[in-house]
Amino acid sequence: MAEEKSTGNGSSPEIPKSQPAPVPAGVSAGAAPAPAAAKPAAAAAPKPAAPPKKSWPEPKFNEKDGRLLKTTRYWPTELWPHPWQSASYRNGAMMLFGIIAGLLASGAAIGELSTWGDKLYALIAGFVASHGQPAVVTDVIWVAIKVLIVLHVVLINGLWAIWWERKISAHIQSRVGPTYAGGFHGWAQTIMDGIKLLLKEDITPAAADKWVHALAPAIVVAPVVVAFAPVTFGKDLAAANLDIGVLYIFAMAGISVIGVVMAGWASGNKYSLLGGLRASAQLVSYELPRGFSIVPVLMFAGSLDLSVIANAQAGYKWGFLPKWFIFYPVVGQLAFLIFLIASIAETNRTPFDIPEAESELVSGFHTEYSGMKWSIFFLAEYGYVLLASFLLATFFLGGGASPFVFDHVIPSWLWMLGKAMAMMFVFLWVRWTFPRFRSDQLMDFCWKFLLPWSFANIAFAGLTLFLR
């Protein structure tokens, strides 16, 4: 069991057998009679003793619970110069390559999901008609299926994103992250955590406002699920085709602030209160640059419908460069950066995580939450990260459009997913690189930098449209 785990570990520091194990101070693994590489030379130090007459007991290795590495230490200087000599590093890279290739192949085999959706709809309609029910029943079933799918996108995203964040942060920090739960790279870690959180005691502090305290997580998480309705996951693949999709999403996402403030207020804790107040100020402020930064996108696309925005970016300029909005000179990049920064701030992640600021406010507004209520806050946070990733992919990266002219095989939903995951990686990457803003600097940054530039960007967009 233990042996399996350690070999299945993609990036455990393992020096290949060919390379001599570093034994600096003369520690040899076995019962070597007298290595004596180190000479204790001080006056008070023991001299290597003459071999005693009686037979020595065999050295004991405590290998009961683990594999004894027959070396003293791994130093980065021994591991880093030749990473490809390490079998585990090679295996890890090959596995990653295999997973990506497998995903692409299966995506190509499945094809566009919207066609399968049409088939499924026809099947349900036939089933309903054969049972003599009215046609509205078909729509009801269809909507229920769509709602369930979107709900599970949010829930499964929580499991995936937390695991991924742990892995990414660990590798950024020269660690490996979870490795035990589930066997393969700790894939089941979040599931196990979820089970643990479900089984944990749900504590409501005595000073808390009980109803508000209980309601706050729900108010935080419900808008996320609802906001996913118009998000396009690929070509013609959205739960609802809303003409005002963008506006709807922003409106829904704005509701979460209330939940955060409620959580901060109702906990009856000073840290929570400070965190809640900071959160409300921050979230309300960053709504503005976030909204204004996509105005150029809306101007270029001429619609608030997400699928229209995505379709407006189809095609290639000069035969190779995709007509994505991020490639529009100055305007696109500026809008992208402002939207990205504001999205990070909206999700309370690290350069902007002052509501939670664990070094100042313990844990901010969710200090007094435990068990599933606490995890719901995280579900909402990662839901918002996914939402922002999909929005970034839709607004700036061409939605499901392929970046390559020659590509006709990979379906649009896979491209969309890939772009969203790349954006999510940016979120994680930023989080594990930067320190935190101070609350007043955060406000300064929003009102004095992001907002003016988002206004300026609208003007640039107008200029671009005028010149075109």
Binding site: P24, A25, A42, D353, E360, F434, R436, R438, Q441
Partner: protein, 378 residues
Amino acid sequence: MSDTQTAVEPEHKIRTDSMFVNLGPQHPSTHGVLRVGLTIEGELITKAVPDVGYLHRGTEKLAEARGYHHCVVLTDRWDYVSAMPNNLVFCLAAEKIMGVKVPPRANALRVIMCELNRIASHLLFFGTYGIDTGAFTPFLYAFREREMILDLFEMVCGARLTYNYIRLGGVMLDVNDAWLAKAKEFIEYFKPRLDEYDTLLSFNPIFMARTENVGLISKETAINWGLSGPNLRGSGVDYDARKADPYCGYEEYDFTVPLGKKGSCWDRYYCRVQEMRQSVKIVEQALAKLPAGETMATGVAKVPKPAPGEAYAHVEGARGDLGIYLVSDGQGSPYRMHVRAPSFINLAILQEMLVGNKVADVIAILGSIDIVLGEVDR
């Protein structure tokens, strides 16, 4: 009082209740078991009362009932992050009282160990300061490098934190060639890492915004509060015991004392980063010209009973001017041992410095003072 930031009085002041917030001893980012009682109005601090003593172990009393060799073990427990200078300062004071002359190789080894320990300690500061300001990754990078230094210590003396390596009259054990090679390997590895730290944290615009112009200490205030070490030098006072009162042959090494300009948190932080560079330089020189010979002076008794007298020795520890005032009455244990603990004296300024700052700055200021509660409480 006017030197540090004073409370900002808004013109149209609304009467509000001030809030009492308890920072520590279980707060996630107080360094050790420090408790600071903060009175805040909104996010502005109006009063700060540091409360220490949770870790008081009465080392000075314990020393009065123990032999001189035993006291070296006690010293490890003050500043457990950099225990080598603690060992050293006690040994220097005891050697002064006994009139013991330390062989040159032992002196060079003491310098190497103290400087490596200074790097380790400043790395810990670097990492925890990153955490204080919200960046988690520098912490693990710093610990990755610190681990190598602790490995070096483990190789030479068998312990990773409480070394008991520097002894009366010399050092515990000599180093071997394998160790010297490892130490050089570490130095070569470590030099580029320092530039990476600058990239990652020192010149990160967010970090600079957090720490520049925060927690300002002027020269006069720093001297008046008796600050020492990087806290004093961050304010621009050129005082380093290694230069002012050289011990262990520090005068033979070529290094500079980095100074700050304004005395802000960033200056204190960057002083430490620069000190790591200087320490690397010293270790390189010391490794290059490590003299041969004995590592333990002859004539140190098993139970030393020095003649009655008094001695004061001080070294530039990782946290500041660490001093020992030792009184002997001719018995086998010190009659009185007083520790000038730099963390304790540096911490006192907190009550004045925090007033008028934001809650978010408390941790930045507290972190920049770089205290170890084991040394504060002794």
